[in-house]
Symmetry: C2
Subunit: 138 residues, 2 copies
């Protein structure tokens, strides 16, 4: 009942960048040192976020990554989708492909409330909603 490690990393990075307005460009090495995320793996994640259009890379010395679109337009669900394939294709908690009110799984009625609370967060929260103060980095 949790996100993949890769999604955790991606959200940590983007929320760190989003709450550091004094800086425009972030190199992988800098992020790696600040957030203690494995350097090589982090380059891979940044490339995925770049290919998804959330951040843009400037190459060469003094290069790095910066946001490619407004913070308010980047939802959590989008971040997860960018780095995770199979970002739950099935909305059923027991993994059934076709589970609905007419033909529900055993947990269907109990899953409705948690599911909607999660959706509300994943679809509703954007990088612009994060509080810059007192955010844990490591």
């Amino acid at each position: 009942m949790r996100l993949s490690k890769t999604s955790e990393y991606a959200i940590r990075v983007l929320s760190f960048m989003a709450t550091s307005p004094e800086r425009q460009v972030f190199s992988v090495m800098f992020i790696h040192q600040e957030l203690e995320i494995p350097y090589k793996y982090l380059t891979k994640i940044m490339r995925m976020l770049s290919q998804a259009g959330m951040v843009a890379a400037t190459q060469g010395r003094e290069g790095g990554f910066s946001f490619a679109k407004p913070l308010a337009s980047i939802k959590l669900t989008e971040i997860v989708a960018a780095v995770e394939k199979n970002a739950d294709e099935s909305p059923c908690i027991l993994g059934f492909r076709y589970c609905n009110d007419q033909k529900p799984c055993a947990l269907h009625p109990f899953w409705l409330k948690p599911k909607s609370a999660i959706d509300e967060m994943m679809l509703g929260v954007t990088l612009a909603d994060l509080d810059a103060k007192s955010i844990r980095k490591v």
Copy 2:
């Protein structure tokens, strides 16, 4: 943001058994045929549930598994814990070991509601709460 396949299987099996009061003993072969869960993997799961004390095995021909304690005493959280190690040790959605109101992660305030709705389900729902009618098996 979902359960492991193994947890899905375990809950499917136990909810199937719990909502089939006309039958006392369930062989792995029978469950396998009814729920279309891989036979050999299912034997492994049933052994785990047996070792966790939720079900008891009767060996030999005509043997199988039956509940070892009252349905109302088997919570979802217990089922997941029985088949999954690392059944989220960290309550933080970004995986931080020490995340709390004083030193929160970026998503801390947004995760409170989904988290409590999930806990309510995992800790509150037991096998006795399931509706026998119209439950999807496959």
